[in-house]
Amino acid sequence: MTNFLPSHTAQLGSTTGEKTLGRVAVVAAGVVSPLGFGLAETLNSLRQARDCVTAVTRFSVAQCRSKTAGQVSDDRLLAGLSKGLHAKRLHRASHMMIHALGEAMTQAPQFTPELIVIGTTSGGMSYGEQYYRSLRQSADLRRAPTWIANYPAQKPVIDAQQEVLGVSAPCQVIANACASGTNAIGHAFKCVRSGRYRRVLTGGYDALSELVFTGFDSLQASTPEKCRPFDRHRTGMVLGEGAAILALENLDLARKRGATVLAEIVGYGISTDNFHITQPDPSGIGAQQAMERALQSARMSAGEVDYVNAHGTATVFNDAAEGMAISALFNGVPVSSSKSMMGHSLGAAGAVEAVVCLLALTGQFLPPNINFDALDDDLDLNIVANKSRPAAVRMALSNSFGFGGTNASILMRRVEA
């Protein structure tokens, strides 16, 4: 085991608090999503405004209203991975995490994490489903121990580290519903910023599952049509899946060791609005507080933000509340929701969308909000409609909001060469 304590011990007993604020660099990133495998494919999909939502193939959706999702190819997930029995047993969520972490560590081979903070909502849920179906149908249960052992939410996090790094840093797995990924990145950011940790891996993952798909369908939150965030004719969300990893490091230390700095994370805001377990406060106050707190944490003003990657699920309630909150804080900032292209990947969403912001900052463009026809009459937003476009993007804000009234926002800044 790598002993994770020594660097940490120096900080135990100190009360660094928020006063001695370190700067937090993103030194590597990896992503797997319906937009593609890796940063390059993702960038290409974003620039070309690809619609990556397809008919669901993993389970029957015959009785669901919604029939589509953003899906990651199994063939590509398994290609190139070890063919051993161990790899075959792993859940596909583990495979997604292995790909994302593998890509990130290729960029930063010397990065040794002291902590890993990952967001998810459902762990290896489809293995739980297989186990339960087999029980009910008195089917073969010889694989049950494998399903059960690979079901827990921390398993893909540990699997990915064991596979890519050979060791596992202590892990904190955050399950704050659809805000999980942004909460994980925000918490990791604060861990590095406070000086308690020097290097933290963070991100999120979720794999499509029948239970979750059916659940959103039962709530009539998902749509049988296209996902149209902020559109006048929006009818709901489309689910997705994926995994994304960011390697965070104290900026000074990263520069000292000559690491490439992709961007900075400069602010994080979290709020809980307690309005309803599945619906946001219609006034948008929860979303607004999260964004305001992110700006306060960064000591920046709303006018300095060049792009907002919205939560933008395309549900009537979310987009109304979030749209109101954005227009209350910002004056005409360009807004888009990546979920229009790849669906809502739940615990992975915040992490994948942080990667989208990273690419917008490094590539100097605005990612698109596709399937967009006309803005909701009640909203006053500057939507990046249907096509990406070049822009000077120095500061990007990413929102994630979840069941239970949990709201999170992070702010990322371009690092000038």
Partner: protein
């Protein structure tokens, strides 16, 4: 950073109330196991259930449809706040963070929801049940009851998750605008959970749990919740919350535990609250304790209360704090008398106890530990 325990609450198979359950443990009481069965299966299991009397007086609109896991958590959390004397209102609602430790989550409603899907198809999936299947449902209910409007986190993991949550609380409390952090661990039992652990060869069909037994006959699940309100100052301190570790193979657990114990045992450790539960983790803890702190007195609550996974770490810390406060430790039940560790086979006075270590070894690769001290 050192944080202090300002309040504690728990709901256990031996009832509710920190001091009353503590007294029962000191007297060597063991919860009664209830048979737990399932309509579509022949095999039944045993589990330590929370008695209905432990939840009397718990009424809030948010809990009307909530599952046991949320009710246990609310009862324990409210008790922890009550015992601290801290009153939450609109003035200080932003100065408290809420962190939940969960392992299996709302398994009762999850099973019911998915059962409808399997039996009659997706069209009969319940929109009322689905939100309660989400891991952070218990946290959102308690946040709504307490009107917490700032940081609320649910973290998931195995039996070590309670201590991981306390470590995360230490990280979160570096934000000096926070005065308190309420950490809650909670778990509910269902036949499905018992069956899963049994198929994984970690569960036995009936009590007792025999800690540190060579046979490793398995655990019995328990349910309930534990809650600890952390503050900046107080007489019982979490002096060091170890970052913990993750083992790839079961055989690596002992080595990691040894390193953790060496880090935590910076002066004389008087006693250890172990997580031994009758499974393979006992051997790892035994080997590590025997090597690093052979003189410390060892106690495990699992034979009396069951393996409550998400709640267990919080229960262990509450027990450690109680032992430091009351200067004695309950007897370990059903333990192997020939073991070389110094187990507390009977109610044991600890007149000079000042430091304790709490170890949580999860069956799914996570290990965590912390050091408690009395000032």
């Amino acid at each position: 950073m050192s944080l202090a325990i300002a309040g504690m609450g728990w709901v256990t198979p031996l009832g509710k109330g920190v001091d009353s359950v503590w007294e029962r443990l000191l007297h060597g009481d063991e919860a009664s196991a209830a048979a737990i069965s399932e309509q579509f299966a022949e095999r039944s299991y045993s589990a330590f259930r929370v008695p209905g009397s432990a939840l009397t007086g718990l009424a809030h609109p948010r809990l009307r449809r909530a599952s046991g896991i949320s009710r246990f958590a609310a009862a324990a959390g409210l008790d922890a706040l009550r015992s601290s004397g801290v009153k939450l209102d609109s003035q200080n609602a932003e100065q408290i963070a809420l962190i939940f430790a969960i392992s299996n989550g709302g398994v009762v409603y999850t099973k019911r929801f998915y059962s409808d899907v399997v039996e009659t198809g997706a069209q009969s999936a319940s929109p009322l049940l689905f939100p309660e299947t989400v891991f952070n449902a218990p946290a959102s209910h308690l946040a709504a009851i307490l009107r917490v409007c700032g940081a609320t986190y649910t973290i998931v993991g195995d039996g070590a998750v309670g201590l991981v949550a306390l470590k995360m609380a230490e990280d979160v409390m570096t934000d000096e605008s926070l005065d308190y952090c309420l950490v809650v661990g909670t778990e509910e039992v269902d036949w499905l959970l018992c069956d899963a652990y049994w198929r994984w060869r970690l569960l036995r069909l009936a009590p007792p749990i025999e800690p540190f037994s060579k046979q490793k006959r398995g655990m019995i699940l328990g349910e309930g919740a534990g809650a600890i309100l952390l503050a900046r100052t107080g007489s019982i301190a979490i002096e060091c919350a170890h970052p913990g570790g993750c083992y790839g193979k079961r055989t690596e657990a002992e080595k990691i535990l040894k390193e953790m114990l060496r880090d935590l045992d910076q002066s004389e450790t008087d006693f250890v609250i172990s997580s031994a539960n009758g499974t393979f983790i006992d051997q790892a803890e035994e080997g590590a304790l025997e090597t690093v702190i052979p003189d410390a007195i060892i106690y495990t609550p699992k034979p009396a209360l069951g393996e409550s996974v998400g709640a267990s770490g919080l229960w262990q810390v509450i027990l450690g704090a109680q032992a430091l406060r009351h200067r004695e430790i309950p007897p370990v039940l059903h333990a192997n008398p020939n073991i070389s560790l110094r187990l507390s086979f009977s109610r044991t006075p600890l007149p000079r106890a000042r430091q304790a270590i709490v170890l949580s070894s999860g069956v799914n690769q996570q290990l965590a530990g912390l050091r408690l001290g009395i000032r």
